[in-house]
């Protein structure tokens, strides 16, 4: 069990990590989600022991490990860049932590062989890392982390520099590979989709603060605040500010939406509404949809899906709709929103109401 208690890291005048408290249990998969510069790498370096927190405590199984040199900690780490020892063969690269531990040649051979097979490097063991492709180099780095059988495995955007096919393959395999060892598994990513695919727990980071930590689905369905909801939404959340009057949300330009009975119970005042792009429809959705007029700004077609950017009143919304929708710019169309699907945040950014069911 790894506990972070009020961990803060300052470098010079800059604060990289502010007051992070989280508990990671043994055998769990934890995703650190946040945009670049949100502090994912800084937090991982603190967990690994490469950096020392300015304030707060880091405990492993109840014992403080602040000040314990990284060599003495039982951790493994893989970077976004493919980091290997260029002068050693792939075999020696993978064997490196075992050699330092003083394992016998037979043990090393068995473990390296197993890891190499797991990551499909068996025929490359005699090459040096620079003779390999990027994906193979990163697999070498991952294999080195596997053979160490560390209690804490830190992967810092390990798949970000790989092509998408390899990424999908490895993303599916990685949790399985490390799950066997019973290690605490921490995975940093900038992509909300990756967090959802991995499952487990997710911690959302923004500007060095941990905005929410909990089960991935839980955080996705009930983001504690606006920042978390924005971080954990790809494509970006549609956001509008509204004035709530009784059972009506008034937006600028005469646009308004009816509130559900549950939402109507909230006190009147200013709120921020967020809804996901796939909850903005171009077709009427039964009885709950509310129609409003908008002008098409641009359409992006990805193949199976289309992103339609619509200007409604003075805000820009994005609709994620299935299929190819080639709409001309500046045409006026009717879009439908479903108040059921609204995340409603109060003026401090805290979640006031979330959709009842996930969809």
């Amino acid at each position: 069990m790894l506990e972070l208690v009020g961990v803060t890291k300052q470098v010079g005048a800059e604060t990289h990590i502010t007051d992070v408290t989280m508990t990671l249990v043994k055998g769990s998969l934890n995703v650190l989600l946040g945009p670049t510069l949100s502090g994912k790498t800084s937090l991982m370096r603190l967990m690994a022991g490469l950096d020392k927190p300015t304030a707060g405590d880091i405990r492993m199984d109840g014992v403080s490990v602040v000040g314990v040199p990284v060599q003495k900690r039982n951790v493994a780490m893989v970077y976004q860049q493919f980091i290997n020892y260029p002068t050693l063969t792939v075999y020696e690269n993978i064997a490196s932590p075992l050699r330092i531990q003083g394992a016998s040649d037979a043990v090393i051979k068995a473990k390296v062989g197993k890891a190499a097979e797991l990551l499909r490097l068996t025929e490359h063991l005699d090459k040096t890392p620079l003779q390999l492709s990027g994906g193979q180099q990163q697999r070498t780095a991952l294999a080195r982390a596997v053979v160490k059988e560390a209690g804490l495995v830190l992967l810092d955007e390990p798949l970000a520099n790989l092509d998408y096919k390899l990424r999908e393959e490895l993303r599916a395999e990685l949790p399985k590979i490390f799950a066997e060892t019973g290690a605490i598994f921490v995975y940093a990513t900038t992509e909300p989709m990756e967090a959802l695919l991995l499952g487990g727990n997710t911690g959302c980071l923004s500007l060095g603060r941990l905005t929410q930590f909990g089960s991935t689905i839980g955080v996705y369905n009930r983001p504690a605040d606006l920042i978390t909801a924005e971080t954990f939404s790809d494509p970006p959340l549609n956001i509008i500010t509204v004035d709530k009057r009784g059972s009506e949300f008034r937006h600028t330009g005469g646009v308004s939406f009816p509130a559900t009975p549950k939402q109507a119970a909230l006190p009147d005042g200013r709120y921020t509404i967020g809804f996901r792009p796939h909850h903005l429809y171009l077709d009427a959705q039964g009885s709950t949809g509310t129609a409003t007029q908008g002008r098409v700004a641009i359409t992006e077609i990805t193949g199976s899906e289309s992103f339609v950017h619509v200007d409604v009143a003075d805000s820009r919304w994005v609709a994620l709709v299935p299929g190819v929708r080639n709409l001309d710019v500046d045409t006026t169309i009717t879009v439908y929103v479903d108040p059921e699907r609204f995340f409603i945040f109060d003026q401090t950014g805290k979640l006031a109401s979330a959709p009842a069911s996930a969809a």
């Binding site: 040199p69 020892y85 932590p97 080195r144």
Partner: protein
Amino acid sequence: MSAVANTARAERPVTIGTVRSSNSGRLSWLVPTIYIVLLMLPIYWLVNMSFKTNTEITGVFSLWPEAPTLRNYEVIFSDPSWYMGYVNSIIYVVLNTVISITAALPAAYAFSRYRFLGDKHMFFWLLTNRMAPPAVFALPFFQLYSSLGLIDTHIAVAIAHCLFNVPLAVWILEGFISGVPREIDETAYIDGYSFPKFFVKIFMPLIASGIGVAAFFCFMFSWVELLIARTLTTTDAKPITAIMTRTVSAAGMDWGVLAAAGALTIIPGALVIYFVRNYIAKGFALGRV
């Protein structure tokens, strides 16, 4: 019509191309040849002289030895006061190279990896040591080393040359070290390497070419440096360059032996250049390629 236009278009570049290439083909050998001839002429003349007798050198103008002789080389290889000059030079040059690299490696690592008070100023200050001519240091060195009883020892010259070679080596190595991602260091620590073990087993092989280039520059400076080496030695550690200045005797100048000695001094440098030739360009860029 279009066919005519096409052929015209197709022919024109070809003609221009042939004219240009034949022109440049006729001239391209000229400039390098002039350059190489000018460059090699003094060296050829030195080697030429070393195989001549003194009467031929002073008497007639000949493009190659008319009566080739190995006497000049015999003199050098049979007289300890001559050949010990080479031995002395090589001893202090190798000593200096080893000391310079050993001192410069940790320094360069620190400059590359750590931020400390005045690091940038100190890095620049290192280089300013090379801005002063060696002659400036001859007097203080002589006074200092004689009070320590180090005059006429190999180590004295080796240490004195460090003043120039350590900064140079630090500059070269810093560039190479900065080219190695810091994450490699950290990965080694995470794997469990202690700093010394990591430095020797992982890091030094990584910057081997940088070490080679730095060693080459140290070697060359120390090998050709005359003034300090001569000031700090009298007999036992006298370098070859100093011995060569003493060929003037009552019988006049022994041109042939001097030429043979000069030709021999080129050999160690040429050997070292041969071994590091592929890294030298990188070394001049100080690793910042």
